[in-house]
């Protein structure tokens, strides 16, 4: 497996990422998948700092830092300008959850609707981490943040399905605990023409309150408990990826507690809170199951219809 990964490091060591930073790990994989003919657009986020302060850049690819709400629109102009001049390159937005689901959502929606040939990757550490762990629209129910000190009462905004509703050619979720899956998805996205959206759940030791050594373990448990399904929606067709494809059966999911108890931000969670979270996960999977069933039924109908017409 390792041999399929480029040995080239585009995220240079000695950068400002916290020890054990999930987003940094994810970015490392993303750039290995994309290569050097890539220009990153980075809105205000942890990566604005990880990318390095003047005069040093920690990234070996062109980077345009941009204002918080402006990443998708800036990337739109960049890609159209490159195309106008006949220049080929990967144009990729690398944005945090805040800059995607909240302040960046209008621009993201517009860019997706216009179907520009860009890949928008959201690295989701579930809060405004760069400014000191404040709640975002991606913060899950029950999580401590500095602006939800008693636990978030809101619910995590479902960006992957919102983006699928824009009828873009490719939507995917990913995790740094499953690097091969992540790299495959980024590579696949680059081959598709049009707007691609990839959402990576990237644990943050500083904000999620855990020993940095557990980043990959926690990322893995997020998937194995069913909290974070690995999936793709390609031209409107939903597909679960391994290992999530095996988790349609709730009995095969790891107990949610195994994921939550490793994180200090869930320390105060009551039994009631736990039930609420579990219910949300169950609902999420019920919806996925229903979609898969409807999809299969429609495909059967189409097949039958084609069969009947042949007679």
């Amino acid at each position: 497996m390792i041999n399929e990964f480029s040995r080239e490091e585009y995220l240079l060591k000695g950068n400002a990422a916290c020890a054990g930073c999930g987003p940094a790990l994810a970015l490392r994989y993303v750039l290995k998948a994309l290569g050097s003919r890539t220009v990153l657009v980075i809105p205000a986020s942890c990566s604005s700092i990880i990318a390095g302060a003047y005069p040093k850049s920690a990234l070996k690819v062109p980077v345009y830092h941009i204002a918080f709400a402006a990443s998708a629109a800036t990337a739109s102009g960049l890609v159209e300008g490159l195309e106008a001049q006949g220049i080929e390159a990967n144009v990729v937005v690398w944005a945090g959850d805040g800059g995607t689901v909240d302040i960046g959502l209008q621009g993201l929606s517009g860019a997706a609707e216009r179907n520009h040939n860009i890949t928008y990757i959201c690295y989701d550490n579930e809060a405004y981490m760069n400014t000191g762990i404040q709640r975002s629209g991606a913060t899950p129910y029950g999580a401590w943040t500095t602006t939800t000190p008693l636990g978030n009462k809101g619910r995590k905004k479902d960006l992957p399905f919102i983006m699928a509703a824009h009828n873009i050619p490719y939507v995917a979720t990913a995790s740094p605990a499953f690097p091969k899956d992540l790299v495959n998805k980024v590579a696949k996205a680059q081959k598709i023409r049009g707007f691609k959206y990839i959402h990576i759940l990237a644990p943050c030791p500083t904000g999620w309150r855990y020993d940095p050594r557990l980043t990959v373990k926690i990322a893995r448990l997020a998937v194995m408990t069913g909290f974070w399904p690995l999936l793709e929606i390609e031209h409107g067709r939903l597909r679960l990826n391994s290992p999530s494809v095996n988790l349609l059966d709730p009995a095969r999911r790891r107990p949610l507690k195994e994921y939550l108890e490793l994180q200090g931000r869930y320390r105060h969670l009551s039994e009631e809170d736990l039930k609420v979270l579990q219910r949300q996960i169950d609902e999420q999977w019920a919806r996925i199951k229903a979609m898969l069933e409807v999809q299969e039924e429609l495909e059967d109908q189409v097949e039958q219809g084609q069969g009947e017409r042949q007679h």
Binding site: S57, V61, Y64, A69, A70, A72, G77, E80, R114
Partner: protein
């Protein structure tokens, strides 16, 4: 070739002749016919540009900045609320050193809602590091738009070209549209922007700068813009040589040489002020009009020269710095004080929200200024 064009259509022709590669805009009255005409040019194949019909003005400015980052020539246009919505990115454009051009069809700021002209929106650009030119005829809109692309490249700064809502934007007049060859000759080869994407020697643009490093970026913009008067004059001269169109400099002087009272004014209303000055001249009164065509760079030398010659200066503003006073008046006073010119300056602000400014209005102001 002579065409009968509104100010807005003239801007679209300017964009077409400048071979703009990316246009991104969001509709707002009274800018809409600029982008409608550009859309027509693009769809007919007369302008080979990518048109990004963004979902907001903030995104429009972000998109043209992005286009400039790709090395493409880019343009947008807006007014009032739209300009305010994109204001964060306006600063980003100047700080980025991108050579973009924006048309500002000046419109009063809400509330109350107004679609008519005043200069409040345009004036918000003063501090942001943009070059600011103001046209008062459709011809000038076309000429300044083309000149702006050259100026932007030379300064490595964005340039705004302003013109008044409806009076200039929607009023048609004969416009001399230069042939493409003349404009190509004038603009020359597109200059490679040093902030355009480079895959061979990659860099990160706009990274965090600690306090010891930050000032020099701002100081460079300040120095460059301050010294831009001569850059623009040279560019305008070369444009006039290439096209045979008229040159005015940073300030157009009408009846100013022996004027007792000179009015500094910007925009379409200058026409009415000039008409008023003409009438008063006929009655033997020595008044003149100095029409300001650029406020960034501020025409320090011209203002000083004209003020020294006159015994009274009237500065007419179509906007306030609310709570302080007329914007141009403030700047004129400041420059005259710095240069030790003690000609008294009267500040008059009017025409807000598109309120009418007929020649009689300016006659009264001149008479008051002369103490008659």
């Amino acid at each position: 070739m002579r065409e009968f064009l509104t100010g807005n259509y003239a801007a679209a022709y300017g964009v077409k002749l400048s071979r703009v590669e990316v246009v991104s805009a969001y509709p707002i009255t009274p800018q809409t016919s600029v982008i409608e005409k550009i859309s027509e040019f693009v769809e007919k194949g007369e302008l080979k540009a990518k048109l990004i019909r963004v979902e907001s003005e903030h995104s429009a400015m972000a998109a043209v900045i992005g286009a400039a980052f790709s090395g493409a020539r880019a343009y947008t246009a807006t007014s009032a609320q739209g300009l305010l919505y994109m204001y964060e990115m306006i600063w980003w454009a100047a700080g980025s050193r991108v050579p973009i051009v924006a048309g500002i069809v000046t419109r009063a700021i809400a509330p109350p809602w107004s679609i008519w002209t005043d200069h409040s929106d345009f004036m918000t650009l003063r501090d942001a590091g943009w070059a600011m030119l103001f046209a008062s005829s459709a011809q000038e809109v076309l000429d300044m738009t083309i000149q702006a692309f050259k100026l932007a490249e030379e300064l490595m700064l964005p340039v705004a070209v302003g013109w008044d809502a409806f009076i200039t934007s929607h009023t048609a007049e004969p416009v001399e549209v230069p042939p493409q060859e003349q404009v190509d000759y004038f603009l020359g080869e597109k200059k490679k922007s040093p902030v355009a994407v480079d895959f061979e020697n990659p860099f990160a643009h706009g990274a965090l700068a600690f306090p010891k490093d930050y000032p020099k970026f701002r100081e460079d913009i300040h120095r460059t813009l301050k010294a831009a008067g001569e850059v623009y004059s040279n560019i305008e001269r070369r444009y006039c040589e290439a096209t045979g169109h008229e040159c005015y400099g940073l300030v157009e002087e009408v009846f100013c040489e022996d004027a007792d009272a000179v009015m500094f004014i910007m925009g379409a209303a200058a026409g009415d002020a000039i008409h008023a000055a003409g009438e008063l001249r006929r009655k033997g009164l020595h008044v003149g009009v100095a029409r300001i065509r650029s406020i960034r760079p501020f025409p320090r030398k011209e203002v000083e020269k004209i003020a020294r010659r006159a015994s009274k200066v009237i500065v007419f503003d179509r906007s306030y710095s609310l709570g302080f006073g007329g914007v141009l008046a403030t700047e004129v006073r400041s420059v005259l004080h710095e240069e030790g010119v003690d000609t008294p300056v009267i500040s008059v602000t009017g025409g807000l929200g598109g309120s009418d400014l007929p020649p009689e209005y300016f006659e009264k102001i001149f008479l008051k200024g002369l103490g008659v």
